[in-house]
């Protein structure tokens, strides 16, 4: 599957920062919350990133270690 420009941006951001919540990813990339959720869930289903729950509401996203060097 070819990645869109926005998906590539998200992966770059996660590479530089490591672990980030959804709101901060949307702020840095400049895409709305609803749209970025779709992108993140797509990347998760492809096995590129994984989510981590922190507390009741916040979800953090990070790259899976096998994909870090790509």
């Amino acid at each position: 599957m070819e990645k869109t420009e926005q998906e590539k941006k998200v992966i770059e951001v996660l590479k530089t920062f490591g672990k980030l919540p959804t709101a901060r990813i949307s702020a840095i990339v400049g895409i709305g919350y609803n749209y970025i959720k779709d992108i993140l869930s797509n990347l998760e289903s492809e096995g590129i990133i994984e989510s981590e729950k922190a507390g009741e509401l916040a979800t953090y996203w990070k790259l899976i270690e096998a994909n870090k060097n790509e």
């Binding site: 420009e5 901060r24 949307s26 702020a27 840095i28 400049g30 895409i31 709305g32």
Partner: protein
Amino acid sequence: MNSEFEKNKKKIKENMENQSEKDYEKVREILIKNGKDKHNRPFIQRRLHEKENLRKTFLAVIKYNPARISEVSEESLLTKPTCYSQLHNLMDLQLVGRVFVMDVKNKVVNNEVVEKKFEEWTKNMPEQLKRYYLAKTSFWVITEFGKSFCQKAYEFNQEFKEKNIEKND
């Protein structure tokens, strides 16, 4: 002038009749591929005209640029959750951006106005509370596309008003 106008009108009507729904879908697909389906002026103007809450929040952000969420909700007389959802809709239209103070302090994003406003807001607070808000707060800023959109809309409005005044005279 009138004959030209009528000719154009006829042409548009003929085109409308000849085009099928599939043609529209093709154009839409191309726009989505290029990522330009949401970022044209008529679409945004229509959205702002139709949706009242969206318009209110956008006006509040223009007034307090850069704006905190509490300022937006006070100005627009809406609750914070609705303000958040509307601001994210505005973000999808690329009219508004979000800047976290933490990113400004870590020099990920360069924005002096946000830094100044945050320091003004927290100057009378104790250190601990200041750090608490530093980690948490974000400001909503109008993007350059948003600014140009506002300017064009204002110019269009003024022209429209002048024409109306001339007609009435």
